[in-house]
């Protein structure tokens, strides 16, 4: 991949009224100049005109076909310079203008265009993020990149939460567990998980890049061992460490597990509880993630 490389063109023999009607229905756009000859004539057009964003969507499709699951379209910028009439033959093309390396992927800048009867009717640019062609892990979910993202085996971070009587009361109300608001119920540790609280999502970007269709997922297991109860007024520091990332086959596809421990320390640094949380995501390795 280098500047000057061309992107395989996509051709539409004719942008038909069927395209336009389907587009109108798909996005709820019933502007009549796109399908009504009289409305188009009243606007000075020689006939119904093709929607600009439809042409942009086909440019995006051209880019996706070129990427073939090896990357994502991060930006697409189009200027609609001239109208194309319904029925026009259109060619969608592009070329690479720059490639720069980033963490885990290349940032590829491209020029893109649409050519119709009157020359280039759309011009623009795009940014795609492209992964290396062969990283030796093409069918692997528990990749080294994922393990690196969660800093497997190393402390990921420390997060401090003050536990109030109100927190405990709301938690008890939510789980239907009547009891005093001075002492937290045994399941309260879940409310102090930095990942569930989304205070840190170390692997979100890596997971988003998994090229396979996701077929399910959720909590696989949660374990907790208390040294003492959590009480209102505690200031708890949670030390999060991912301890395992692995995969295996399951009933709903290939299963990717990520396991983390949380050490809950009080203000004195004494261990209050240790939790072990397993999360699983299922993928169909036979289907690409793109819809």
């Amino acid at each position: 991949m280098r500047a000057g490389d061309t992107i395989p063109e996509l051709s539409v023999d004719a942008a038909t009224m069927e395209h336009i009607v389907r587009w109108s229905a798909a996005i709820d756009d019933y502007t009549p100049i796109h399908f009504d000859p009289e409305a188009a004539a009243a606007r000075g057009m020689d006939g119904p005109v093709v929607n600009g964003p439809w042409k942009a969507a086909l440019l995006a499709r051209m880019l996706e076909s070129w990427l073939d699951g090896r990357g994502t379209v991060a930006r697409l910028d189009c200027r609609y310079r001239k109208p194309d009439l319904v029925g026009a033959a259109l060619t969608f093309g592009g070329a690479v203008t720059a490639v720069t390396a980033a963490a885990g992927h290349d940032v590829v800048e491209c020029d893109v265009w649409v050519a119709g009867a009157g020359g280039r009717t759309v011009t623009g640019s795009a940014t795609v993020h492209m992964r290396p062609a062969h990283d030796g892990e093409s069918d692997t979910l528990a990749t080294e990149r994922l393990k690196s993202a969660v800093r497997l085996g190393q402390e990921l971070g420390r997060f401090t939460y003050e536990v109030t009587a109100g927190d405990i009361a709301r938690f008890r109300a939510a789980v239907g567990d009547p009891g005093p608001d001075t002492v937290a119920p045994v399941t309260f540790y879940a409310a102090l998980d930095p990942v569930e609280r989304r205070d840190i999502l170390p692997d979100a970007e890596v997971l988003d890049e998994i090229p396979y269709a996701r077929t399910g997922g959720g909590n696989a297991f949660n374990e907790v061992e208390y040294e003492r109860p959590i009480r209102a007024g505690d200031v708890i520091t949670v030390v999060t460490t991912y301890t395992d990332v692995y995969e295996r086959d399951g009933g709903s596809g290939r299963l990717l597990f990520r396991v983390r421990t949380n050490d809950l320390l009080d203000a004195a640094g004494d261990l209050v509880a240790r939790t072990r949380m397993g999360h699983v995501m299922a993928y169909d390795l036979k289907r690409r993630a793109r819809a």
């Binding site: 229905a25 756009d29 169909d284």
Partner: protein
Amino acid sequence: MTTAPARAEAPAVPPLSRDLRALVGTVSAPRTRTVLASDVHRFRLATAAGEGAGSTDPAVVPAVGSVVPPTFFCPDPLVAAEALGLPRPRPLARTIDGGSRWEVVRPVRVGDTLTLVARIASITPRTTADGRPMVLTVIEVIAWNQDGHEVGVALATSVSYEERLP
């Protein structure tokens, strides 16, 4: 006494009216919808390149969790903004779609719940190359997913201009 040398002057850009200026920054109400597999399927068929969009594309209905096409979160920001109730200024005789831009922050998947909000980002007076008044309106639509993460921004440039005199 001296006089400035004569020179060709660019056509004066007419100022924006107070009503137009007041529209800048207008924000729509948010609207939330679930990304349905059937909607994504319709979108894919509408953007199939073959002759006769639906007849040549063998695409099957996408599964929950599949990543949707890049522009799907807001396929046409002008249409989306008007559907969200945002006024689209049409101050001059003709108003057209001058361009669109999509920035994809995170992949959107079938089954996600998206919330969209539209805003009039700017209204700028200009003149056409032959000196006619023109107004550029940039409309921005931001989309968030069910986790509150921004998934993308779509921008449209609406171009209003006066017609050529006969």
